[in-house]
Symmetry: C2
Amino acid sequence: MTNGSPENIAVIERQGAFLDRDAWPAERWCRLETAFELIGTRSALVLLREVFYGSTRFDDLVRRAGLSEAVAAGRLKDLVACGVLSRRPYQEPGARTRFEYVLTDVGAQLFPVVVALMEWGELLRDDHQTGVELVHRDCGAVLHAEVHCAEGHEVALGAAAVRLKKG
Amino acid sequence: MTNGSPENIAVIERQGAFLDRDAWPAERWCRLETAFELIGTRSALVLLREVFYGSTRFDDLVRRAGLSEAVAAGRLKDLVACGVLSRRPYQEPGARTRFEYVLTDVGAQLFPVVVALMEWGELLRDDHQTGVELVHRDCGAVLHAEVHCAEGHEVALGAAAVRLKKG
């Protein structure tokens, strides 16, 4: 039993100074909130989905994300400003220079987030026969997100702990 | 080169019928959106964070999530209604019956999402000396989210593909 939660439901064990949860307000240091501020809107998420699926051009992104041009333009600007996407000029013959949107290195590191969210969303569906699935190109097996530690162990929720960093 | 994206930026390769992205509107079958509808608000995310850190009682959740009672109450109701949390009665001596909130099995399966988001949020910070870190209880090594396929291979973004399910 940890943290007063029931024995049959695992939680992340609080350790050290973080045992006293109330001594540590989440403001300023919560990385979940930092992440959420950047990508925690439906419009950001559906645009990122299309970028991950290989769309780069504004017209494609707008149509495939199902957003209005105004909303998409504003959100793409935000995603560029925060370093998730970069904007790159291109020019087709006889046309003016336009811009396309590509993942930065930081943006590409959202890949496990995308996989984990899609995997979890699948749990919530009644119909598992339709929709898309992410697979490994080489072997065709379905992808899923796993938690590992830096020592290489696979870690279940019940084997996880949270502690304050040694500052 | 895949999907018209630049050679140096990996994306998820579209395969089969999904190569024609425009033939498949995302409405109805996008699992990312399904997930986002349930947990894609700041209030849901900070409440889930505290539940994952072992808080169960309304007063603790409100204070630690930094929300107003009204917002927290509404969001907890939503999270119970969609099956992420369950509500369980408890009673302290001399007090009326109250309810605490615990993860359901579906809620507990958000663990890789939480780890992946925290890991990504860490990338965005200037100050890596403060805040909390998730670690493996057994060996103390830091946690991270990895993408694997059902055959056990670790899969990088450049080795991932997306296809329509065979309905």
